[in-house]
């Protein structure tokens, strides 16, 4: 099964791809890009490309890949099965971004926000297709953000390719819709088969839709919040929902490089300027350099 490697270790993320069909190496192809799992507070985000020769686009549409958002999970699985069966002329590739990777990017010192991560992932997948020998002629991309800037960026990156970026592109272009199906199926399977790397016994998987406003998801988060360690790696710690719960129910943790507290320190007492005892000599630099201090008590 094409996604069996992903199902064995969803937490590991990574790239998964079909073999490049032989016609795609000879004939000009349309390549669609879409994503799944941008909004949920748990699970990976998946970027997918799907491509086929331009003269096979009508056949692709006939597989029923249009309007993927309206499909049930079972229907999506079925249509992914059809795409796999058409593997002699349809190819696909996925990049699975694990939730801890998303959180780390968003929270690291030099912030790498979700939009930048998304654009870079899409760009890398397109490049992967080119490097794998796919004769990409057109690139069609679904976007939630401003389309013009993203389109200009991709055109600059891939001169010589026709690039079209549109909101709701999955409803307009069958190859984007096919990519959407690949991404959604992959994400659904990753969440369903999630391997908790934490040794938590048998954690319940009743996480609802995974969206922050889903009461079932919120309840799951509350049940699975460990006060010192927070959540399992399935959860995106950088999401506002997760951060609020950690603030309210987690143990406070302070880091040396965090911003100073909002309240300024109290001004020193006037009496402190009239000290009776002479100022204490600082410790020898041998001890200062090594952060070694005497103790008055344990």
């Amino acid at each position: 099964m094409a996604l069996s490697a992903l199902q064995r270790d969803p937490a590991g993320g990574g790239r998964f791809a079909s073999a490049v069909p032989e016609p795609c190496r000879r004939l000009p192809c349309a390549l669609g890009v879409d994503e799944a799992g941008r909004g949920p507070v748990l699970g990976p985000m998946v970027y997918a490309i799907c491509y086929c020769p331009v003269d096979k686009l009508e056949q692709l549409e006939a597989l029923g890949v249009a309007d993927s958002k309206t499909l049930s999970e079972a229907e999506r699985e079925r249509r992914f099965g059809l795409l796999e069966a058409a593997g002699d002329w349809v190819g696909w590739a996925l990049q699975v971004l694990p939730p801890d990777h998303i959180s780390a990017c968003m929270q690291q010192r030099a912030k790498y926000n979700l939009n930048e991560l998304s654009h870079d992932t899409a760009t890398e997948l397109i490049q992967f297709a080119l490097d794998s020998g796919v004769q990409v002629a057109q690139v069609l991309v679904d976007t939630v953000g401003p389309a013009e800037k993203y389109e200009a960026k991709l055109r600059q990156r891939f001169p010589g390719l026709g690039v079209t970026v549109r909101p709701k592109a999955d409803a307009l272009f069958p190859v984007v819709s096919a990519a959407s199906i690949c991404a959604k199926v992959a994400r659904d399977r990753a969440v369903l088969h999630w391997n908790f790397v934490e040794d938590l016994g048998d954690p319940d998987r009743d996480y609802g839709s995974g969206y922050p406003n889903d009461p079932k998801t919120k309840e799951w988060l509350r049940r699975n919040l460990e006060p010192v360690f927070g959540f399992p790696r399935l959860v995106r710690f950088s999401w506002g929902t997760a951060q609020a719960l950690l603030r309210d129910r987690g143990v406070p943790v302070r880091w040396a490089d965090e911003d100073p507290p909002e309240d300024p320190p109290a001004p020193p007492s006037v009496l402190s300027y009239f000290a009776r005892s002479p100022p204490r000599r600082p410790p020898h630099r041998f001890f200062q350099e090594r952060s070694l201090r005497p103790l008055a008590e344990l």
Binding site: R285, F286, S291, P294, L295, A296, E297
Partner: protein, 217 residues
């Protein structure tokens, strides 16, 4: 906290040979600052150890399956008890105008009841001659602080410290040099730098007036 993380030599933690003589953490008068400072006597108070904490801001411990807010790492290292005894010898010398006295009447401190244990440490009664003049009347010994002998003894301590600094490649120059930077030029710290640094370290263990005398010496 109910537990601490501590690195100590085995001698500090040897089991007691007699009941009621376990290792003892106790406060004694710091000879340099005069303030209460934590020390350790091993079983039977044979040896004295100073206790220092490696203490950086924003540190905690995982110890087994617990978390401990207090992120200090304690170090216990052997210490020459004469450094602590010196304070009382100097004080007695000032107060009693240079009278010879028995040690157990000198090394007393109402604020630090463990103070007499300093005299139980191995070989103290023998090595006390490094810092005092001694008289024997009958079977009893009497001691009087000797600055001259003390400075000679401290000079040996400084020289030993200089050797240890060199053999451990401790940078003692006035320049600030991060230990993680490797300097391509061969820069040798001057002997004076070593002596000043060692004097500074020894001064952490003696009263300030004595430190000034030692610097001149």
């Amino acid at each position: 906290p109910a537990q601490w993380v501590l690195i100590a030599p085995e001698a500090a933690l040897d089991p007691p040979k007699k009941p009621d003589s376990e290792p003892l953490f106790t406060k004694l008068r710091n000879p340099s600052t005069g303030e209460a400072t934590l020390y350790l006597f091993n079983s039977g108070a044979q040896q004295l150890f100073e206790v220092k904490a490696f203490h950086e801001e924003c540190r905690s411990w995982f110890i087994g399956q617990t978390v401990q807010q207090d992120g200090r790492l304690l170090f216990v290292t052997p210490m020459d008890p004469l450094f602590l005894i010196l304070y009382y010898l100097i004080k007695a010398d000032k107060e009693q105008q240079g009278k010879f006295q028995p040690l157990d009447q000198v090394v007393l401190d109402s604020e630090y009841p463990s103070c007499p244990l300093l005299l139980k440490c191995a070989d103290v009664k023998q090595y006390i001659q490094h810092v005092t003049e001694e008289k024997e009347i009958g079977s009893q010994k009497f001691h009087k602080y000797s600055q001259e002998k003390t400075l000679k003894w401290l000079k040996k301590k400084v020289n030993q410290t200089v050797k240890a600094l060199k053999s451990n490649n401790i940078s003692v120059g006035e320049r600030v040099l991060a230990s993680t930077l490797i300097n391509s030029k061969q820069i040798t710290d001057a002997q004076e730098d070593y002596v000043r640094y060692a004097h500074g370290l020894i001064s952490e263990y003696i009263p300030e007036d004595l430190s000034k005398e030692l610097l001149k010496y």
